[in-house]
């Protein structure tokens, strides 16, 4: 008898129902035990729940946009963007983020679909990184968070400019790599693709199948990311990092690490960045630019979407470009 690969065993209806019953029994046991009586457990569950309740709707919106791209944008349409003069391709992709007021969780499925539908992977990644930083909602929230301070326009303009530059720099590093070099294969999608080739389904069916698949695919990584981010938020005291607030380069690195650890939504992170008054504008800018591009929940989303080598390059590229850019803006702003 052939050995069945781990995790590939078929599950029948009865086994699935038994599994569902066991899960429900565990839920009842958890309710009776009420682990929230322990304060750190309660804190953890509140933060975990809030991250999901806020981010999942944006994943849904991203999956909706991605399914529309997949089903209704003809193959080849996006390839035409590749005919733009090369120096314009990446800035155009970054500026496209202005028209996409959605947070970082929603931009990942859209970028994945854009690359699958023929957009140059470097442009898709540039769009993915720029959209959560430069979209109008985020820029407006940054203005509100910093209004009344002498650094208002440094922070608003700096976030927009540095966000664009970092996204373009990472896209430039990707260069001419193909989508197969970047994207991880998704077995569910491959099955749907084979099914579609064997017998094409109606558009509305394909739309809902892709919508559901993208939501389920991204949702599982978001849950993993929220699990990690909530643990960090529960146990990491912000004061630990304050001792290095005055050290020029170190303070920027620390704020980037903090942004990665906290995993805040790009639409709210300016309010938290503004609360770190001990840190200078450069370090706060680094927080605002690198956070929506690389954080604990995003890295798990990237790990599910992109190949490991690319995720490594993306993280290093974002950190390096943000560090250099934040130092540069710090010098310019005095």
């Amino acid at each position: 008898m052939a050995l069945v690969a781990r995790g590939q065993r078929r599950v029948g209806t009865r086994a699935a129902l038994i599994a569902a019953g066991v899960v429900l029994l565990c839920a009842v046991a958890v309710r009776l035990a009420d682990p929230q009586r322990v304060e750190w457990v309660r804190t953890y569950l509140v933060i975990f729940g809030s991250l999901l309740v806020q981010a999942l709707p944006f994943v849904m919106l991203g999956a909706l946009a991605a399914a529309l791209v997949e089903v209704f944008v003809p193959i080849g349409t996006l390839e035409r963007l590749g005919r733009l003069p090369r120096p314009l391709q990446l800035p155009t992709a970054a500026l496209a983020g202005l028209a996409f007021p959605i947070c970082e969780c929603g931009s990942v499925p859209v970028a994945r679909r854009l690359a699958q539908r023929g957009l140059m992977p470097s442009a898709a990644v540039t769009f993915m990184l720029a959209a959560p930083v430069i979209n109008p909602v985020v820029i407006a929230s940054t203005f509100v968070a910093y209004r009344g301070r002498s650094t208002t326009w440094t922070m608003v303009g700096g976030r927009f400019l540095l966000g664009m530059l970092v996204a373009i720099a990472v896209g430039w590093v990707i260069g001419a790599r193909s989508k197969d070099e970047l994207l991880k294969p998704n077995p569910e999608e491959e099955h749907e693709h084979r099914t579609h080739l064997a017998r094409p389904e109606a558009r509305w069916r394909r739309f809902f199948v892709h919508l559901g698949n993208d939501f389920l695919f991204m949702g599982r990584y978001l849950i993993l990311g929220a699990t990690i981010a909530a643990a960090i938020q529960t146990f990491l005291p912000a004061s630990v990092l304050m001792s290095v607030a005055g050290v020029p380069v170190v303070s920027i690195v620390v704020m980037m690490v903090l942004a990665a650890a906290l995993s805040l939504c790009s639409e709210s992170d300016a309010f938290v960045a503004a609360s770190f008054v001990q840190f200078g504008p450069s370090a706060q800018l680094a927080f605002l630019v690198s956070g929506p591009m690389v954080d604990a929940k995003l890295v798990t989303l990237y790990a599910g979407t992109f190949r490991r080598g690319f995720v490594r390059a993306l993280v290093v590229g974002v950190f390096a470009a943000t560090l250099v850019g934040a130092l540069w803006i710090g010098v310019l702003a005095g």
């Binding site: 995790g7 078929r10 599950v11 209806t13 699935a16 599994a19 899960v23 839920a27 958890v30 309710r31 009420d34 682990p35 929230q36 304060e39 309660r42 804190t43 569950l45 509140v46 933060i47 729940g49 809030s50 991250l51 999901l52 309740v53 806020q54 709707p57 849904m60 929230s141 509100v144 968070a145 009344g148 569910e188 099955h191 084979r194 099914t195 064997a198 017998r199 509305w204 069916r205 739309f207 809902f208 919508l211 559901g212 939501f215 389920l216 949702g219 849950i223 929220a226 990491l236 005291p237 912000a238 004061s239 906290l262 995993s263 939504c265 709210s268 309010f271 609360s275 770190f276 008054v277």
Partner: protein, 245 residues
């Protein structure tokens, strides 16, 4: 499960276990967002500024659930595999945790780990601090700028009335506590702390995390604000436990 036939192509369609399982997960998340909306529990996770995502998600997820169910039959259905089932269950666990456990809020445990409210990020201006009824957000914001401190200092000796929960650190004297409230911009993950020191408290009278209403006289002293309590009484946790920016 009943089979059907695609009339246009004459191909037999069968239920796809993977698609059906995905429908259940989508339905569970849709139900969660309806539950948050109807029960008002969204206030335990989101600020007033972002609560719009709850009805939007409820509607979109419901549509996605019905759409997925309607397209859950395929000519070549893929079997559900154990790994996939495990992932689907993992996606339902947060839904169960949020719905079955009693509503909870951040408490004293986080107060020392989170940063204080950032003045410029909130709608309170020096003018609001100088006149009218003082709120905990006014006080917290005032402590972050010299102008705010000056405006608040002019209110010294006035009567205030604040609602928050009791926080005590290891070095807090027995006849004092810190009255704490979290201020949220988007979701609880970005909560910052608004706090005043309450003095003239009956030692042992109030437990950590207990919600109280403090009436007393305010004395801003530099970057610290003290409230000399004339009355402290237990109150139920507010329906909106977090203040919104």
């Amino acid at each position: 499960m009943s089979d059907t036939r695609d009339r246009s192509a004459g191909v037999e369609l069968r239920w796809s276990p993977v698609r059906v399982a995905g429908t259940v997960v989508l339905g569970a998340w849709a139900a969660l967002f309806w539950f948050l909306l109807v029960s008002g529990r969204d206030a335990f996770y989101l600020s007033t500024r972002t609560e719009w995502v709850v009805p939007v998600a409820a509607v979109l997820l419901t549509l996605a659930t019905f759409g997925r169910l309607a397209s859950a039959r395929a000519a070549q259905p893929e079997p559900l595999r154990s790994r996939e089932l495990g992932l689907m269950i993992a996606m339902v666990v947060p839904v169960l945790l949020i719905t079955i456990l009693p509503p909870a809020t951040l408490g004293s445990f986080s107060a020392g780990k989170r940063s204080a409210v950032a003045g410029a990020g909130f709608s309170t201006a020096e003018g609001d601090i100088a006149t009218g009824e003082l709120t905990l957000v006014d006080v917290a914001v005032a402590q972050t700028t010299p102008e705010g401190e000056r405006a608040l200092a002019k209110r010294a000796g006035e009567q205030v009335d604040f609602i928050g929960f009791v926080t005590r650190y290891a070095d807090t004297p027995a006849d004092e506590f810190l009255l704490t409230r979290y201020v949220v911009s988007c979701c609880v993950a970005d909560a910052t702390v608004a706090q005043v020191r309450v003095v003239n408290v009956t030692p042992g009278g109030f437990e950590d995390n207990e919600w109280v209403e403090v009436t007393g006289t305010i004395y801003p002293i530099g970057r610290e604000v003290i409230v000399d309590a004339s009355m402290i009484r237990d109150v139920p946790r507010p329906e909106r436990p977090y203040l919104s920016s």
